[in-house]
């Protein structure tokens, strides 16, 4: 039998250290919903999502009660909409976003991802329409999330798409200026996007995925932080070992929930995403872990090394605990969603430049960063280009989720509410990147793409 201290330890992890399943995400293929008639196609999209996911929230809640583990979010990802909508004769894909939003509300999920296009090598007609529809789509819907993949290691960087996304992000912010540029908090620009990511806003159901699938994202920065308190002053070998053991436990729980959800919904299990995803709640912060390792503030020298160790140890600990590991798997560093990161920005310890360095060793990229509303589109595009370059050269996923907050300037605060948190506007480099971005074309795939 399980001994008493193990039982109490688990309960303490849940009660005091915010251990939870961050998300159960159902991936749904919409490839059979294409139709030349927009209305018909949107109806098929709505009906398919509702019919597949109508039991998702109830099942999640049941598992939550039976196992006593909080499951914070139930979400849906769908086939990139550019692929589905392309057959329809129309100049705007906003109705598809509205159909997704309506379906999300009907089944009770808080986000639905997949208003997406994959344009790392170039645009199809549908890709262009989708990207042009993004600002409007995110402004008129509440729960729809969008992503655009602009680069891969194999294809290089589509700089035309990078340039375009700089402008689209500005337009999205402008359209939602009363909500602090909220549309941009639901838009991710990727390099090397993964097909089975359960985390928002970047989740979509990739073309190599089955008809329907369950992916689970685990979390638990608070648990790792607490475990590390017991090895104060210890050498890094012991730190790494402690993180590995903790990540193993967290992931085992995720695997159990994933298997159970998959069985009850009669939908195949896809992957467990081993990510340390912070929330704005106190004690649920990745920054706190880095500071526990001995940094006075996250952002100071040593932060990149600390994050590299954390990211690696989380993966090593988690990988044995789950049958299939996938998604983004690593440590997330979303600035506004992490109380410790925001504190570091406020005290002037954390800059965009340092965050960029950190993205070389963490699981994703520049995430939930607020910048002044008058930042030029070319500067945003150049930030995306830098991140994409890091991604393709290092064979990793990188992303940019940046919010140029209309009417706000450096040091101002903006509240996005809920899990998205509160951001302090950070300065960007004042020198222009315009002539660089204006060139357009493609940055060729790096040499390490030629691996055959």
């Amino acid at each position: 039998m399980i001994n008493k201290s193990e039982i109490l330890q688990t309960i303490e992890m849940i009660d005091q250290q915010h251990l939870d399943i961050r998300t159960i995400t159902m991936g749904i293929s919409l490839r059979d919903c294409a139709d030349p008639d927009v209305e018909k196609s949107c109806r098929k999209v709505y009906e398919k999502i509702v019919s597949k996911a109508n039991m998702l929230v109830k099942t999640g809640e049941d598992i939550e009660k039976e196992f006593g583990i909080p499951i914070v979010n139930k979400r849906i990802s769908v086939t990139p909409v550019s692929l589905v909508a392309e057959s329809s004769k129309t100049i705007s894909y906003v109705p598809f976003a509205e159909a997704m939003d309506k379906a999300a509300k009907e089944v009770g999920v808080n986000f639905i991802g997949g208003f997406s296009a994959l344009v790392h090598k170039g645009f199809t007609v549908g890709d262009r329409i989708l990207i042009d529809s993004i600002p409007e789509a995110l402004a008129v819907t509440e729960r729809v999330c969008s992503s655009v993949n602009v680069a891969t290691t194999r294809a290089g960087i589509n700089m035309d798409a990078v340039k375009l996304m700089g402008d689209i992000i500005l337009k999205g912010a402008e359209k939602t200026k009363d909500a602090g540029g909220m549309a941009c908090a639901k838009l991710v620009v990727f390099a090397n996007a993964v097909e089975d990511n359960p985390f928002m806003a970047g989740a979509f159901h990739g073309v190599g995925e089955p008809e329907c699938v369950i992916n689970v994202g685990v979390s638990g920065p608070g648990v790792v932080h607490t475990a590390l308190k017991s090895c104060a002053g210890a050498p890094f070998d012991i730190v790494a070992e402690t993180i590995k053991k903790t990540a193993f436990r967290i992931t085992r729980m995720g695997q159990l929930v994933a298997r159970e959800a998959s069985r009850r919904l009669d939908v195949p299990f896809g992957v467990v995403d081993l990510s340390l995803a912070p929330t704005p709640a106190i004690g649920d912060s990745v920054a706190d872990i880095l500071e526990e390792l001995g940094l006075e503030s996250v952002g100071t020298h040593g932060t990149t090394a600390a994050l590299a160790l954390l990211n690696d140890a989380v993966k090593k600990g988690g990988v044995m605990a789950s049958g299939h590991v996938g998604g983004l798997s690593g440590a997330f560093i979303p600035v506004s969603e992490d109380a410790g990161m925001i504190k570091a920005v406020k005290r002037g310890a954390l800059s965009i430049e340092k965050l960029e360095a950190m993205t070389c060793v963490c699981s994703v990229g520049l995430d939930m960063i607020a910048v002044p509303g008058d930042t030029p589109g070319s500067t945003i595009a150049a930030i995306i280009a830098d991140e994409a370059a890091i991604g393709i050269v290092n064979n990793k996923t990188t992303a940019v989720r940046i919010i140029p907050v209309p009417g706000k300037t450096v040091g101002d605060s903006v509240d996005f509410g809920g899990l998205l948190g509160t951001a302090t506007v950070m300065p960007v480099n004042a020198f222009s990147s315009r002539a660089f971005i204006e060139r357009g074309g493609r940055i060729p795939a790096p040499l390490n793409a030629l691996r055959n």
Partner: protein, 89 residues
């Protein structure tokens, strides 16, 4: 289905009887029980078999929570699998 019931709260007379009577009324069999009082705080852990329970598991869980709160106790029931998964390879 085997589950773990934990009861945490300030110590007083009759906690075990109170919790066990709720379990008995609903057809839940207690298999193992252990309890301690640490600095006035009462902690009890029970291994139970809920397969004969007249209520669905989620209702049982809600009932225990509610009845526990009535006596200022934190009572929860969780399926045993979760502890197995986290602490055993």
């Amino acid at each position: 289905m085997r589950a773990i019931v934990t009861v945490i709260g300030k110590d007083k007379v009759g906690i075990i009887a109170y919790v066990c009577s709720i379990l008995a009324k609903n057809g839940v069999n207690v298999l193992d029980i252990s309890q301690t009082v640490l600095q006035e705080y009462f902690t009890m852990i029970m291994l139970v078999d809920a397969s004969g329970c007249s209520l669905p598991f989620t209702d049982l869980s809600a009932l225990l929570k509610e009845e526990g709160l009535r006596e200022s106790l934190s009572v929860r029931i969780m399926r045993e699998d979760i502890f197995e998964a986290m602490h055993r390879i």
